[in-house]
């Protein structure tokens, strides 16, 4: 038997292929010769002839070797399999196999990324809903808000008078639509059911067409229905209100009684429709009814009464700058025409979207920034983990390079591993985001989380995908580049001994980055906590402990001054008779709830032409200051004997005293209130009380004046009830007593005063807690990063240390 394998191997010594391939080729050629030999024998050839026939199959072995070498070295043109992303599936499989074999490594990396990506997705979803998304109206970029601010006191909320609005509407050329919007109006729904408060807006007929929103059922107002001389009693309802009160029935055409008048329903708005601009933005109000602006009781008021927000839609082709010029020009001409009411005001215009998000932009960007840093830290940590892993893979990579794997191919594989990790982290992150978002929506401040539908949607998923890809690159690239830059031989020598010095430097760099970011976040969070603490230390100007408050709304027919006074007397007596109640008073608007009504104040002796001062204006019962714990600084408070000449008395706060009579004693000084200084009566200052933070804890109190209740009985008094103990258990019984006064008296916003104080800091607390949470997360991530680096360094130094320790031992023979 001939050994053809040996025969071929001896002659084919010049082929330069891998040993495995050589084996294959030799085996195949040997088989060919053997078959030729056997075939010849079978064909009747002699042994010698058969051998010769077989050997003649290949005569020139050198030529054959050269041909084989050429063939084996042939590099095919890139086929589908070799294109940049071919073999990607194999890389993914390889990565998954590795992760399955290293569950601890994978769990840590995936969890780290999950928290980073999940936290970012949750915050992005929140910020997107609140501050980034364009308004849900037709062509929202052309919607603008036109504001009229007092030049001297720009901090005062801008409102426009009805007459100014009508003049603007008649003269503006830049706008295709212009609409006036009333403040949020509380109305009492009357009828068979118990009195119910409804929050409503009075809007121009052009309001809905301007937004590009039609009624889901019926229609919205026509301009005839919004006619100033003959306003129509028609109403458009929210979907929620229609569902609640009409069930499945179509409410269009039916009538119901609101505030003592009958209104005809002409339309129902689509589900989820909400006006996002002022006066609704920044509140948790849920507007349930829209009325024509002309039906508003203030619609026919004088030019001095500013109570409207104005929005406009720019005509196509008109720029904001051009419109701004026109707004300023018309504001100027109104000031010239009506100097008594319009001088000292500045008109401006801004995109409606800016007005909507202005209250939230700062905190939202802060949150996004903080959580972005956390993502960066998560990526740094995973990069660190991958680098640590590189220690154990140096040999593998070096062998693959030595065997001819292209660096691009290896880079792709390492990046694929990062990508697979990031995708797993992203998927787990979605769960984290979902849970986190549920928590945020449940615990977040109402104006922030109730106003917009906040849910994970396509935009959030796109964000998550981008975040995951970013993580894949940030976490996968440093270790990949590090590994590939290394020399293959080095890798082989170093294998098993950990990382090179350069890798250590890279990892140390990552840890330094982490510590710096964590520190920055900690400092930021610390500053927020500090400023929040200072905010909590701010004296609100009254004693919120053991104080309850109930808002009421009195049905229109009881709104004659005498009827209101009787009703108040009843309320006062009944509530005071409740065990545990030590005082009852009423005010037109609670502290920390923002502006009430403003008024112009002229002081006696004021030079003609000097602009009046805008002051906050509240009506209070004599006991209000005592019940609230607002200190009297000078003079006296109202008392029950003031009734006869109550209209001539006023109590002012310290801020007003300082502003109007700096360095003087304000007691006995006389002022006039209102828009017409000539006709308004003189009012005497009888007392000065401490300033109350009426706007918010953060803002210094504006000048404030209080008029006695008997001079101006309130339509919807807000009751304040001082209790001997915690008011929470009394809230229910007190509200029931208020409702028990009569079927047309509603009670709402029933809560302990402390809740109001807490709520006023809710948004800051929310942002502070979140940023604080992210800072803690960053510190934990940095700690994990440091631990990883130190332990890896210790591991790679171990052999040297061990040798050092051994050589330091006394030289004693191990065996005797």
């Amino acid at each position: 038997m001939h050994n053809w394998q040996q025969y071929v191997r001896e002659r084919l010594s010049h082929i330069t292929v891998s040993p495995e391939r050589e084996c294959e080729i030799v085996g195949e050629l040997a088989l060919q010769l053997e078959q030729a030999y056997t075939g010849a024998l079978t064909g009747g050839a002699t042994e010698q002839e058969a051998l010769s026939h077989a050997r003649n199959q290949i005569r020139n072995w050198d030529d054959l070797a050269r041909e084989i070498n050429l063939a084996e070295r042939y590099v095919p043109a890139p086929s589908e399999k070799d294109r940049p992303f071919s073999g990607f599936v194999a890389d993914v499989r390889y990565a998954l196999r590795f992760f399955r074999r290293n569950p601890t490594f994978t769990a840590i990396a995936v969890l780290t990324l999950a928290f980073g990506i999940g936290g970012n997705t949750a915050i992005f979803t929140l910020v997107d809903a609140v501050a980034l998304r364009s308004l849900p109206y037709s062509d929202p970029s052309r919607l603008t808000a036109i504001e009229t601010r007092k030049s001297q006191q720009p901090e005062i909320e801008p409102w426009t008078s009805a007459l100014d609005f009508f003049d603007m509407r008649d003269h503006f050329q830049s706008f295709s639509h212009l609409a006036g919007i009333s403040p949020i109006w509380n109305l009492v729904l009357t009828g068979n059911q118990p009195a119910e408060r409804v929050e409503a807006l009075f809007v121009s007929a052009s309001f809905f067409p301007m937004l590009g929103i039609s009624a889901a059922r019926g229609r919205t107002f026509t301009s005839e229905e919004d006619n100033r001389s003959t306003p129509s009693r028609v109403v458009v309802l929210s979907h929620g209100f229609a569902e609640r009160h009409f069930g499945g029935r179509d409410p269009v055409g039916s009538s119901f009684s609101m505030d003592g008048a009958s209104w005809t329903v002409i339309g129902v708005m689509p589900v989820g429709f909400r006006y996002a601009g002022e006066p609704v933005s920044g509140t948790a109000s849920d507007i349930e009814a829209w009325f024509p602006l002309s039906a508003n009781p203030l619609a026919a008021s004088a030019r001095g009464l500013r109570f409207l927000k104005v929005i406009g839609r720019l005509k196509p082709g008109v720029t904001l700058e051009r419109a701004a010029g026109e707004v300023a020009a018309i504001g100027g001409s109104l000031a010239e025409k009506y100097p008594a009411t319009n001088q000292g005001f500045t008109d401006s215009i801004q995109p409606l979207s800016q007005q909507v998000i202005s209250k939230f932009r700062g905190p939202m960007l802060l949150l996004l920034g903080a959580v972005g840093f956390v993502l960066l830290m998560a990526c740094a940590n995973v990069a660190n983990l991958l680098l640590a892993r590189a220690a154990t893979r140096n040999r593998e990579i070096s062998v693959r390079i030595a065997l001819g794997a292209s660096r691009f191919r290896l880079l792709r594989q390492l990046l694929t591993e990062g990508l697979v990790l990031a995708v797993m982290g992203g998927l787990a992150g979605l769960t984290v985001a979902y849970v986190g978002l549920m928590y945020l929506v449940r615990t977040g401040p109402e104006p922030l989380v109730r106003a917009w539908p906040i849910q994970i949607d396509a935009r959030a998923l796109l964000f998550t995908t981008s975040a995951a890809l970013l993580c894949a690159i940030l976490a996968g690239l440093p270790p990949a580049l590090r590994m590939l830059r290394g020399d293959a031989n080095n890798g082989l020598r170093e294998a098993g001994r950990g990382l090179t010095a350069a890798s250590h430097r890279l990892r140390s760099g990552l840890v330094i980055l982490q510590v710096s970011v964590a520190l920055a976040l900690l400092v930021g969070a610390g500053l927020l906590v500090h400023s929040f603490e200072r905010l909590l230390e701010v004296d609100p100007g009254f004693q919120p402990r053991n104080l309850a408050t109930i808002s009421t709304l009195i049905y229109q027919s009881a709104r004659t001054p005498a009827a209101r006074t009787t009703l108040w007397g009843e309320l006062h007596d009944q509530l005071l008779a409740t065990p545990g109640v030590t005082g009852v008073a009423a005010v037109s608007r609670l502290p920390l709830m923002g502006s009430n009504l403003g008024s112009w104040l002229y002081k006696e002796g004021q030079t003609t032409g000097q602009p009046p001062l805008d002051v906050e204006y509240r009506v209070a019962t004599p006991d209000y200051f005592r019940v609230m714990g607002i200190p009297l600084r000078a003079g006296r408070l109202f008392d029950d004997h003031d009734d006869a000449n109550a209209a001539n008395l006023v109590v002012i706060d310290e801020a007003a005293a300082l502003r109007v009579w700096p360095g003087e004693d304000p007691l006995g000084k006389r002022i006039k209130l209102g828009s017409d200084a000539a006709t308004a009566p003189w009012i005497t200052v009888i007392g000065v009380v401490g300033s109350v933070r009426h706007m918010s804890l953060e803002n210094a109190p504006p000048p404030e004046i209080y008029r006695p209740y008997s001079a101006s009985p309130m339509i919807s008094p807000i009751l304040v009830v001082r209790t001997a103990t915690d008011p929470e258990p009394l809230l229910g019984p007190l509200a029931a007593k208020v409702r028990g006064i009569g079927p047309n008296v509603s009670a709402y916003n029933v809560f302990a005063m402390q809740t109001l104080v807490d709520r006023s800091t809710e948004q800051r607390r929310f942002v502070m807690l979140l940023v604080g949470g992210f800072a803690v997360m960053a510190v934990v991530l940095a700690a994990v990063g440091i631990y990883g680096t130190v332990s890896q360094a210790a591991y790679s130094e171990l052999p040297k240390s061990a040798y050092g320790w051994l050589s330091a031992q006394p030289r004693k023979p191990l065996f005797r």
Partner: protein
């Protein structure tokens, strides 16, 4: 003289011949050599020295795929089969040759000879 001409032509068409023989089923090298000999009335001959490097080259081009197969009662042999890329390449080469032959036909009218 005639045989030299055929060998020159054979060089240009070797790839197509091997691919075409593998079109129906997988075959090993010896079988391929035998088939070429027998089906061309011994006019075409592939020496081992040129057949195997050609097979290796086709393998590198991913037009064929070689695999060791062990059948019961037979020696372990390396079988070659056509890949999908090989199938496409064969179609392409057939088309090119057809066009070439058609052109030759028009120019030389050798088909009528």
């Amino acid at each position: 003289m005639a045989s030299t001409d055929i060998r020159d032509l054979q060089k240009g068409s070797a790839e197509m011949i091997v691919l075409a023989l593998l079109e129906g089923r997988a075959r090993h090298g010896y079988e391929l050599a035998k088939l070429i000999e027998s089906q061309s009335d011994n006019k075409l001959q592939f020496h081992v020295a040129s057949l195997y490097p050609l097979l290796y080259r086709l393998e590198r081009k991913r037009l064929v795929e070689g695999r060791w197969v062990e059948k019961a009662g037979e020696r372990r042999r390396r079988f070659y089969r056509l890949t999908s890329e090989g199938r496409r390449a064969l179609e392409h080469q057939r088309r090119t040759w057809r066009e070439f032959v058609d052109a030759l036909n028009v120019l030389t009218r050798f088909g009528h000879a």
